[in-house]
Every structure is written in structure tokens, then in C-alpha cells.
Amino acid sequence: MLWKHYHTPSTVQEALELLRSYQGRARVVAGGTDLLLDIRFGNVQAPEALIDITRIDKLHQLEADETVLYVGAGVTHAQIARSELVRSRAACLAEGCGVVGGPQVRNVATLGGNVAHALPAADGTTALTALDAEAEVVLDGERQWLPLRELYQGPGQSLLDHGRDLLLRFRVPLCGANEGSAFSRIMRPQGVALPILGGAAWVRLDESGAHYQDVRVCIGPVAKTPTRATAVEEVLRGQLVDDSALERAVSVALETLHPRTSKYRATKAYRREMIAVILRRILPRAVQRARSSAAVPQVRA
């Protein structure tokens, strides 16, 4: 059986009131590209009502000030991938969102839904993690900002109660001078179209562009939730940007990251090879973007 009611509230307040009135028998839906299929195929029990948040004006906007990007929970992958601002100043997010599904899915699927579904290695969340994003939520009635990782309790397990709580938006620091980011993933042409391995990197170079000042890297799936490769970041900080630093990062990654074999996806051995491949693809690209960041266009807030 499918849901009986489908609500399209136009304000956050209205959405929260609807959720309250159903007392847990309703569920929030954004793009629905995962949830509606889960309901159809019986993986998720159909709620009595669906509360569609994509018509809430505030939630489908991409906004920015000088240094921070706000991504509404109802913003689609297509909006993000297309945004000039995201492409230039949060490039890995545009790259990650740009490869999810095909155009029809990206036109509907939201970054918010992606995070709410708590998949450990969704392309968008890998990018958000490397960008050190935070999420604004209404958690048990309380509106608050949380680091992204706190929303993840395990594979498919979100901190949010989808019959009660709302994910409102993400706050993503924009890349400024000497900062850049990049995303890459490895797919296979058979079976489910999820990445065998995906990775995103963010770097800040010193003013000369010669040294890594700060680095954030997220590669997954290597854990039950999106996880920063802190040892890799550590080994790069303060180092000269060159091949030997990159190769040190690769060997630290291979020592500290432990991907698993997963059925019909990839062997552990293959995933280890891909850790190296991805790092060698994303780090130089992030560096190159950091060095050319002078060209980043003016933010129109």
C-alpha cells in the first residue's frame, strides 16, 4: 500500500506542523528518488502521509555571501552542478553532484535527501565532507547547526527522525584565494550504479602556492559513515607541493584506510588500488584550482 496523503507545505513552519499532526505517521520527502522506490518495493513501510519539502521557497535556494554557500535541503543536484558559483568556488561539490544518475534524476534528486538517506559514500556527501560542511536541522523541535558527520549514525542510519525532524540547509565554506577542491570516482558498468570508490579533496596553499597549508580529504566507502582521511591530511600539511608529497600521501592512505570487499562491487585489493588512483587524480587538480583561484568570479550574494 502506498501513502494516503501528499502534502506540499510552502513554509518550514507548516511542514513541522504537519509532521507533528501525524505523530510519526508521516515522512519527509524531498526528491524522492530513493525514498519513493524504497516504499514501492517494500523496503520502507509506506507512511500515512508524505510531506514534500521541495515547494518550500527557502529550501530550494542556493544562496551565498562572501565566504559561505548555503544549499537548501530541497536544492537539486542539477542546480548545484550547473551553478557558476559552485563550479568555481566549491568545485568538488559541483563535480560530485554532476555525476549522480542521469539528467532526469539530477533534476529531482536533492543533496538534502542524499544526506538524509545517510549513504556512506554518496558523491555529494563525499564532497560536502571534504568541504567541511555543516547542516542546519530542526532536531526534536530545536533549530541548530551540526557538523555533517553528526547526522550519520551508520549506513542508512540518520540522526534525523524523518517523521519528526527536518534538514533545512547546508553551510559550505567557499574556496577563497589559494584554495581549491576536486572530486573523482570510480564506477563499473555492471550492477548498481554506486561508486566503487569516490574521493574529494580540498586544499589551501600558502601565498606562493608552493606548500600545502591545509588539506581535507574524504575517500569512501572505507567506513560506515563519510570519514575524513585525517592521517593523509596530516602528512600533507606544510609540505612542498610535489610528487613525493603526493606519493607519501598515497602510502599513508594505503596504511590507514581500510576498504572492504563488497559483493558485486569490488574487491578490497581493487579498492586499495583505487585509493591511490583517486588521490593522484584529485590532489593535483585541487592544487591547480587553488593556484588559479584569482580567477574566481565575484560573489553575487
Binding site: M1, L2, W3, K4, H5, Y6, T8, V29, G32, T33, L36, L37, R40, F41, L50, D52, T54, R55, A78, G101, G102, P103, Q104, V105, N107, V108, I186, R188, P189, Q190, G191, V192, A193, I196, T261, S262, K263, Y264, R265, A266, T267, A269, Y270, E273, M274, V277
Partner: protein, 948 residues
């Protein structure tokens, strides 16, 4: 129920519908706009794409109430009624440039994906008036087409973009057929249904609706192998809205069906033998109620040990799938014996022996099965039980329905609808009998539409095989012997296993003159989905094995693989391993020549088979193939067609043969038009109605151009002769002096319309109508020597691949193909068959595998069974070789399956030349390939199936 307001194609609608409706359901069911198709309900195939406020979305997973107040554009909104001057001559409509371009470029075959592809392309062109090839591929990435292979779609989108920019459309590029065209034959005439297919007006089975119609659903087995102890339907029967719940006890006739062997119960009685076995069927007011009722049916099972593969099935202690079958789990042992195998290997200087594995694969035709039955006497149009279905064998459906319902065959009418792809997967019974049973039980029309998931679960697949090939040759490159052993997974029921695996066996030595051969094939019953017909019909599997073995042997001998094949290729005068002397129409050498010339650019000396550049390896691979036309093997092969000419100088061809997108209707129109001297657009073709059209036989074995083509041709010829006799009398000339051309009968400088002669004939009390039965040349059963088949088609292909040495990813960049088809009757449709076959063959090698775990299918979602999409499609160069066969219509022989056979071995050979690693198991696994490259290993025997 709630009010939903939408503007669709500029028209405002308000409907009262449940809030759980998806947009596609509202469009199709509530607004009757059936141009929007449903292919998967998983947001995987893109067929249901419509524009919501200008944005393309998959409407089957888009909640209708999210679109409240929105502007929707569907395929029906692209064309518009036009003033006569601007209207398409085939319709009253002014077509959108995309619609025109899809017709011009042959980008329409079965037509089921066409609305979704066109709508997705429209969204692209709205945003980007001049998209390059990459932009087109990115936009259409998730909109699948299983027929065309995508190249024609890319060309059509470019052409439409050009026209929309005001730069005029880009004409179709043509093919290099050699024979001069006749008046009609040899020209690319558009098929009669093509305008309906691009405008969304084409009707497939699920698009038919009848007053009072109920919806049927099927309860499938809960175990792959189990005894049924008890079935209780009382709770399901009591559910409001349920009209019938039927089990095996409710079948009036024989509870059995099957195309060759009667071994498949209509509804499972004592046992279930695979997860797709039907146990009970329900008819209810809605699909939702029917689905709910299924959950209320109680079945007690006693699970039995599972036979999960053909090798296990052959073990002496294996559980038995069919206790009543005399052979245990052995469905058939097929043998080829030719010459003296011992002597052949004794004469060989080099002998190689290898083992190959090919997977179970699914047709994934874009239209899931749908049957709609109307009970006898329901209304004036249905005096007898009538089943609407897109079937490859309408008369077999009729026979099997009648048998299960205990009706005389003439009390059942099967009316063929358009078919959204078949590829062999719509030969067996799907819901035809079930829908008929429910219609008779309820006295109301019943539609049985399978979901994609049910389709994947239930219908027969391509046989998984294990093939061991041993081949020997002399130092100078002459093949002396080929020995092969094949194990085929026949699944739970016989379907066409016998014939399919016979073809795998007889073609297992490749299209070569092999003096000594011994092939043994064992087809086994298992608890997997039944295996049956699938384009290539067994040859796809054995070609993968033998064509790699030929490369290995050539390499051991130090001979170029092209030279080795050329030296051993079948040619006129050669004898096949079944003992057939080929007397004519063997174009294999010409296909080898054409492909090799393109591949090495006429410079074999400096040609490289493989090389590396940075992190990429590149390689060419070569493969030859042949495929019989027609049933062969001693089976009587016949087709009957009726041709009638009318007083308005038009004609109709009537035959029950299936056009599943390959273009049979236009082929028949062309051969009849050629004989009658009519323009082809004046010949209508009526297909697949068992009350109105005689039996053309099964649409299988690449036989219809030849068989139905000949039947239509001879029927048309006989009508012309009858008309000539009458015209000669009236015009006072000898019949020989008459010329039939352009819809006229001409003699001595004067002309009368053909229709005038029909009037004269009618005045004499005769209709200008002839029914002709064409019997193919007699063939011999396997093992008796002589002609096992009446014609063979031949193909050579070269694949050019890129292997990423960092990731193991394999991309096919280019395919060069040459296909000997006897005669190109319709070059554009032929090109579509060639390109579509190639991309389907590429899927077989790179993307597709239907996975079972102990009989339980894992691949029951399209998301888990990936077919090639547009971003994977290679550049294809296609040469047509015309080596006519004397008996074929204007020299034509079959092409439907041919070109899907070569790609797998050609790609595998190319991967070897690129990397030095040989892949013995498909689909090629980048994971295992990379580990082999890095580990210095020369062979891969694993596939992603093994990643656990």
C-alpha cells in the same frame, strides 16, 4: 481522492485522483495520454520522461501532486495539427524537427523508448541549440534504447538541432550496399507505423483500455525449488474489489504449455521449480487491490534442495528438477561428429585447449510483457475470446491458450499489438493464458501488465554456458580439428533450449572449414529461470569461445589472426561440420576483406594490434561469425501470406509475423510493392491477427525477411498474374506485354489504374486476392548430413578498445563491421539492425549479467541489470556485403541476430592485444583485469559475479 490541476500540452485539466498517484499514471490512465511509456518504475530507463515546467523528469517516480498547477509537455504536445501544405504526407500533423529527424535517421525501431528519448532530447535542445556529441550523450545518459545502438539517435538529435537553428536538417548518411536498387526494393522506405511511434500515438498492449476492465496480478513462487503442500485463497477472495483468484485447480484444460516440450505448468500444482513460477492469479478492480490480494494468498511449501547450475545438475547425486523426465536433469545431449577427430589432432602441429564461461543474460526489451484478454461475447467487437498481446508467435499463443482453456482454437483470437522489443524474449507464453483464464472467469476484460521487476524475474533468458574448446592446426595454418564440450544452463523449463543449444553446438567450430570435429553439448535442467531464445540463439556463446581460441591458435602458430581466418574461412564449395556443402551465397571472405582493409588502413605491414600510451592501452580485436536463416534441422519451415489489391489501387499484405522493431512490415510492403508495381506507401501491411491474417510462423531464427518475405512476394506475384490475365483480356494484348508500374497497368502506350483492373476482376465475381504458402527448401536433421539450413549469413567485425591501466576500465571506441545479408531490402532498417545488434553484443561482453544465488535472482531490478547506455556506444562503421541467396526474396537472407554475435569475442581479443591479458569469462571485470595486469598474470577467469 483529491483535486489535481495540471496544464498538459497547453490544455488545462482537473482530475480527482488518489494522492498516491505518480505523474505517469495520471497522464496515462486519467488523461488517456498513453504516449508516455512506463519501462521500469525505478527511474533507470527514462522512457517516461516528460517536461515539468520545462524540466525533464521521469514521470513514473514523480508524485503527481508535486506537479500541482504545473505546465507539463508530453510527446503528444510536440506535433500539432497542420495546414495541409505543412503537414507530413504520412499524417495530418506538423511534426517537430526532432520527430522528423528520428524518422529520417532511422532512430526509431520498436518505438517504445522513442517518446522518452525525444522528450529528453527536446529538453536538451531547448537549453543548448548546438550540442556537440558529448552534450547529446550527457543529456541522454539515462534514457535507454535497446534497439538502435544509439548512433542513429545521436545523428537525429544533431539534425534536429541544425534544423531548429535554421540551418536545415542533416540528411541520413546511407550505407554502402552494392547491388543496384530495384524500383522499391533496395530503398529506405519509412515503415508504416513510424509516424505514430514518434508522435506517441502508437499503441502497445498496455495502451489498450476497455470498459469494465479488471487488472490481473500473479503470485510467484517463494522458493526456487519446493513442493506445494497447500494453497488457500479464501482471504484473497474475500478482499473487496477482488473478482477472481485462480489456482491450478481452476484450469479448464491442460495445465501445461511449452514451445517444443510440454513441461511448463500454466499454474504450479505439485512443485515450483524457479522463483518465477506462477502459483495463483488474481483479477481485481485496480492493480493495487490485486497486489494486496496476492499478499493474502497462503501457500505452504516444503523447500527442496536447489539445483543452481548446469555442472551441479550433471552430478549423479543432484536433486531432480523434473521427476517425470526420463533423462534426469539432462534435457538434451547434442552431438556433432565430423571426420575423424583423433586423426585430426594427430595431424596438427599445434593444439590449444581453453575453457570459457558466458553469463545468463536478459533481453531487457524496453516494453515489459502485457496481455489483455476480452471474454467471448463481451461486446460486438469480441464475439470470441480475444487476447491482445505483443507476441513473436501469435498462432502458438492461440494454440496454447486454447489448450489450457479447453477451447477449440478457432474460438480464440490473438490480436497482435505493436511490440516494444522482443529479441527472442517474447516467444514463450507470458501472461496470455493467465489473462484469458481471468477474463473467462470474471466475464470482464483483464489486463495483465508485468512490472519490469516481474519481467526480469519471470521470463526466459540467454543460456549461461561453460565451453571447453580444443583446436589444432598444421604449422602452415590449416585447421585440422576442433573439439568442444558445452554445458548449458537450461533453467527450470525447456522453452527453446533444445534448438538454442543445438545452434550453439553446430556453430561451435566457427565459420571455418574444419575437416574433423567433435562437439558435445549438455543442456541441463536447473532451478534458475528458464533459458530460451535470445538474439544469437546459442551462437553468441559458442562464438565467444571459438573466436578467442582461433586467435590463440593463430598466435601459437605465429600467423596473423586475419590471415589465419581467411585461410580457413568457409567459402563456396566448403563443407560445414554438420556435413552441409555450401553451394552459394557465402560472403565471409568479402566481409573479412572489408573489415581488415578499414582496420589496417590498407597497410598491414605497419599495422599494430596493440600499444600503450601513458596510462592507457589500446588494442584491436577481430572476430568472424555466421548464423543460419530459418528453423532448419529438418523442421518444416513455412509461412503463409495473403495479398489483396483494392479498387483504389492500394494493396494489403496480411500475415501473422511479428514486427518487434526490426522493420518487417516495411520489408513486406516493399517486396509486395515491387511485384505489384505500386508505390510502397500504397501497400498496407496487417500483421498478427489470427482471425484476419494467415500464419507466418515464429519470428525467430532471423527468418522473417526470407520466409514471410517470400510468402508475401509470391502471393503478390500470383495476384499480379491474375490481374494481368484480366487486364490482357480487356486491353486486348498478351499478358506478357503488360507492365505494372507506379500503380498502373500499361500496354502499348496506354495505361489504366491498377484499381480499374481490380474492378474488372470483381465484375467477373473474383477478388484480387491470393493466399500463398511458402515452404522453405527442405532441411536435414542434425546428424544426417546434407543441408541442415537453407541459408547462412556471415559477418566480420573488428573492435578497437581502450583499457585504462590505472583502473582496468574497458571502453569500446570503435567497431568496424561487414555483414553479408544477401540483399539489403531496406538499407536504413538494415543499418539499424546492424548497429543495434553490435551494441547489444557489446552489452553481452561488458555490462550484462543476470545473477542468481542458489536459484534466487539478484538481478530483478533494472538498476541491477545494466544494458549499454548512450555514453558507452562506440563509433560504428558498417559495410554491407550482398552475396545473394537464390531462393531468398530478391536474394535476401537473415540479419536480425548476426551482428550481435561478433562483438563479445572481438572485444575480448582486443583487450588481449591491448593488455596481454586474456579474458575467459564475461562480462569483463575491470577489478580482475586490473589485478591481472598489475600482477603480471596472463589470464582472467573471474568476473564481477565472483566479487563476494
Amino acid at each position: 481522492m483529491s483535486k489535481l490541476q495540471l496544464t498538459v500540452n497547453g490544455k488545462s485539466y482537473e482530475v480527482d485522483v488518489p494522492e498516491s498517484r505518480m505523474l505517469a499514471e495520471v497522464l496515462r490512465q486519467d488523461l488517456g495520454l498513453t504516449g508516455t511509456k512506463i519501462g521500469c518504475e525505478e527511474a533507470e530507463c527514462g522512457l517516461c520522461t516528460v517536461l515539468v515546467n520545462g524540466t525533464p523528469v521521469t514521470s513514473c517516480v514523480y508524485p503527481a501532486f508535486r506537479a500541482q498547477g504545473a505546465e507539463i509537455v508530453t510527446i503528444e504536445g510536440l506535433s500539432e495539427p497542420a495546414p495541409a501544405a505543412e503537414a507530413d504526407p504520412m499524417t495530418e500533423l506538423k511534426l517537430h524537427p526532432l520527430q522528423k529527424a528520428f524518422i529520417e535517421h532511422g532512430a526509431v525501431q520498436c518505438g517504445f523508448c522513442t517518446p522518452g528519448v525525444i522528450m529528453t532530447a527536446k529538453a536538451l535542445l531547448d537549453e543548448d541549440p548546438n550540442p556537440d556529441e558529448d552534450a547529446i550523450k550527457a543529456a541522454l545518459k539515462d534514457t535507454l534504447c535497446r534497439c538502435t545502438g544509439y548512433n542513429s539517435i545521436i545523428n537525429a538529435v544533431k539534425s534536429a538541432a541544425s534544423e531548429l537553428r535554421g540551418e536545415g536538417p542533416i540528411p541520413w548518411g546511407g550505407v554502402d550496399a552494392q547491388l543496384p536498387p530495384l524500383k522499391v526494393v533496395g530503398h529506405s522506405v519509412p515503415p508504416q507505423e513510424v509516424v505514430d511511434k514518434v508522435t506517441g500515438h502508437a499503441k502497445y498492449a498496455d495502451d489498450y483500455v476497455f470498459e469494465g476492465m479488471l487488472f490481473g496480478r500473479t503470485l510467484r513462487a517463494a522458493y526456487p525449488h519446493a513442493r506445494i503442500k497447500r494453497i488457500d485463497t479464501s482471504k484473497a477472495n474475500a478482499l473487496p474489489g477482488v473478482h477472481a483468484v485462480l489456482t491450478h485447480e481452476d484450469i479448464p484444460g491442460d495445465n501445461i504449455h511449452g514451445l517444443i516440450y510440454d513441461d511448463w505448468p500454466v499454474l504450479a500444482a505439485e512443485k515450483v521449480r524457479y522463483m518465477g513460477d506462477p502459483v495463483a492469479i488474481v483479477a481485481a478492480d485496480t492493480e493495487e487491490i490485486a497486489a494486496e490480494a496476492l499478499g493474502l494468498i497462503e501457500v505452504d511449501y516444503e523447500p527442496l534442495p536447489v539445483v543452481s547450475g548446469p555442472l551441479q545438475a550433471a552430478q549423479p547425486d543432484a536433486p531432480i528438477v523434473h521427476e517425470e523426465w526420463k533423462g534426469g536433469n539432462l534435457l538434451k545431449h547434442i552431438k556433432v561428429r565430423h571426420g575423424d577427430i583423433e586423426r585430426g589432432f594427430a595431424e596438427a602441429d599445434v593444439i590449444v585447449e581453453r575453457e570459457y564461461h558466458t553469463p545468463t543474460t536478459d533481453h531487457a526489451f524496453m516494453e515489459p510483457e502485457c496481455s489483455l484478454a476480452v471474454p467471448a461475447g463481451y461486446d460486438a467487437e469480441h464475439p470470441k475470446l480475444t487476447v491482445y498481446v505483443g507476441s513473436q508467435i501469435p498462432y502458438e499463443d492461440r494454440r496454447q491458450i486454447a489448450r489450457a482453456l479447453a477451447l477449440p482454437e478457432d474460438q480464440v483470437r490473438v490480436r497482435g499489438t505493436l511490440i516494444g522489443g522482443g529479441f527472442g524474449g517474447k516467444e514463450d507464453i507470458a501472461g496470455q493464458i493467465h489473462a484469458a483464464l481471468l477474463a473467462q472467469a470474471t466475464g470482464r476484460p483483464v489486463k495483465m501488465r508485468y512490472t519490469r521487476q516481474e519481467s526480469l524475474l519471470f521470463h526466459p533468458k540467454r543460456h549461461a554456458t561453460v565451453i571447453r574448446v580444443k583446436a589444432g592446426a598444421t604449422r602452415d595454418g590449416q585447421l585440422t580439428a576442433v573439439q568442444a564440450e558445452l554445458y548449458g544452463d537450461g533453467g527450470a523449463y525447456a522453452s527453446l533450449s533444445d534448438k538454442v543449444m543445438t545452434r550453439a553446438t553446430t556453430h561451435a567450430t566457427g565459420p571455418y572449414a574444419v575437416p574433423n570435429a567433435k562437439v558435445d553439448c549438455y543442456v541441463m535442467y536447473t532451478n534458475n529461470p528458464p533459458s530460451g531464445a535470445f538474439r544469437g540463439f546459442g551462437v553468441t556463446q559458442s562464438a565467444f569461445a571459438v573466436e578467442q581460441t582461433m586467435d590463440i591458435l593463430a598466435q601459437e602458430l605465429g600467423i596473423d589472426p586475419v590471415d589465419f581466418r581467411r585461410d580457413n574461412a568457409l567459402r563456396v564449395g566448403a563443407t560445414t561440420v554438420t556435413g552441409q556443402v555450401l553451394r552459394e551465397s557465402v560472403g565471409l571472405l568479402e566481409t573479412i576483406k572489408r573489415v581488415a582493409r578499414d582496420m589496417n588502413r590498407g597497410d598491414p605491414e605497419s599495422f599494430l594490434w596493440g600499444w600503450r600510451e601513458g596510462n592507457k592501452a589500446y588494442g584491436w580485436g577481430f572476430a568472424c561469425a555466421y548464423k543460419n536463416t530459418g528453423l532448419g534441422g529438418g523442421a518444416p519451415d513455412r509461412a503463409t501470406a495473403e495479398v489483396e489489391v483494392f479498387p483504389n489501387s492500394t494493396a494489403e499484405v496480411r500475415i501473422s509475423s511479428a514486427d518487434m522493431g526490426q522493420g518487417l512490415s516495411v520489408v513486406l510492403a516493399q517486396v509486395a510493392a515491387e511485384e505489384l508495381g505500386l508505390p510502397p506507401e500504397r501497400v498496407h501491411v496487417l500483421l498478427s491477427d489470427t482471425d484476419l491474417t494467415p500464419d507466418g510462423g515464429p519470428t525467430t531464427a532471423s527468418r522473417q525477411t526470407y520466409m514471410s518475405g517470400n510468402a508475401a512476394r509470391y502471393a503478390a506475384d500470383a495476384v499480379r498474374q491474375a490481374l494481368a490475365t484480366v487486364a490482357a483480356e480487356h486491353l486486348g494484348v498478351a499478358p506478357d506485354a503488360l507492365v505494372f508500374a507506379e500503380g498502373q497497368v500499361r500496354a502499348n502506350g496506354s495505361a489504366v489504374p491498377l484499381g480499374q483492373v481490380v474492378e474488372w476482376m470483381r465484375a467477373q465475381g473474383q477478388d484480387a486476392k491470393v493466399r500463398y504458402t511458402y515452404d522453405a527448401p527442405k532441411t536435414q536433421p542434425l546428424g544426417t548430413g546434407g543441408d541442415m539450413h537453407f541459408a547462412f549469413s556471415f559477418a566480420t567485425q573488428a573492435a578497437f578498445v581502450e583499457v585504462d591501466l590505472e583502473t582496468g576500465e574497458v571502453r569500446v571506441l570503435r567497431i568496424i563491421a561487414a555483414s553479408d545479408v544477401g540483399r539489403a531490402i531496406n538499407p536504413k532498417m538494415l543499418e539499424g539492425q546492424v548497429e543495434g545488434g553490435i551494441v547489444m553484443g557489446m552489452g553481452n561482453c561488458l555490462t550484462e549479467e543476470f545473477i542468481m544465488e542458489e536459484g534466487v535472482p539478484w538481478s530483478t531490478f533494472l538498476a541491477r541489470y545494466r544494458v549499454p547506455h548512450i555514453t558507452q556506444t562506440p563509433k560504428i562503421t558498417s559495410h554491407i556485403v550482398e552475396s545473394p541467396t537464390a531462393e531468398g526474396p530478391f536474394g535476401a537472407k537473415g540479419v536480425g541476430e548476426l551482428t550481435s554475435i561478433n562483438p563479445s569475442p572481438a572485444i575480448a581479443n582486443a583487450v588481449y592485444h591491448a593488455t596481454g591479458v586474456r579474458v575467459y569469462r564475461i562480462p569483463i571485470d575491470q577489478d580482475a583485469l586490473l589485478r591481472a595486469i598489475k600482477g603480471g598474470k596472463k589470464e582472467v577467469h573471474a568476473t564481477w559475479h565472483d566479487v563476494k
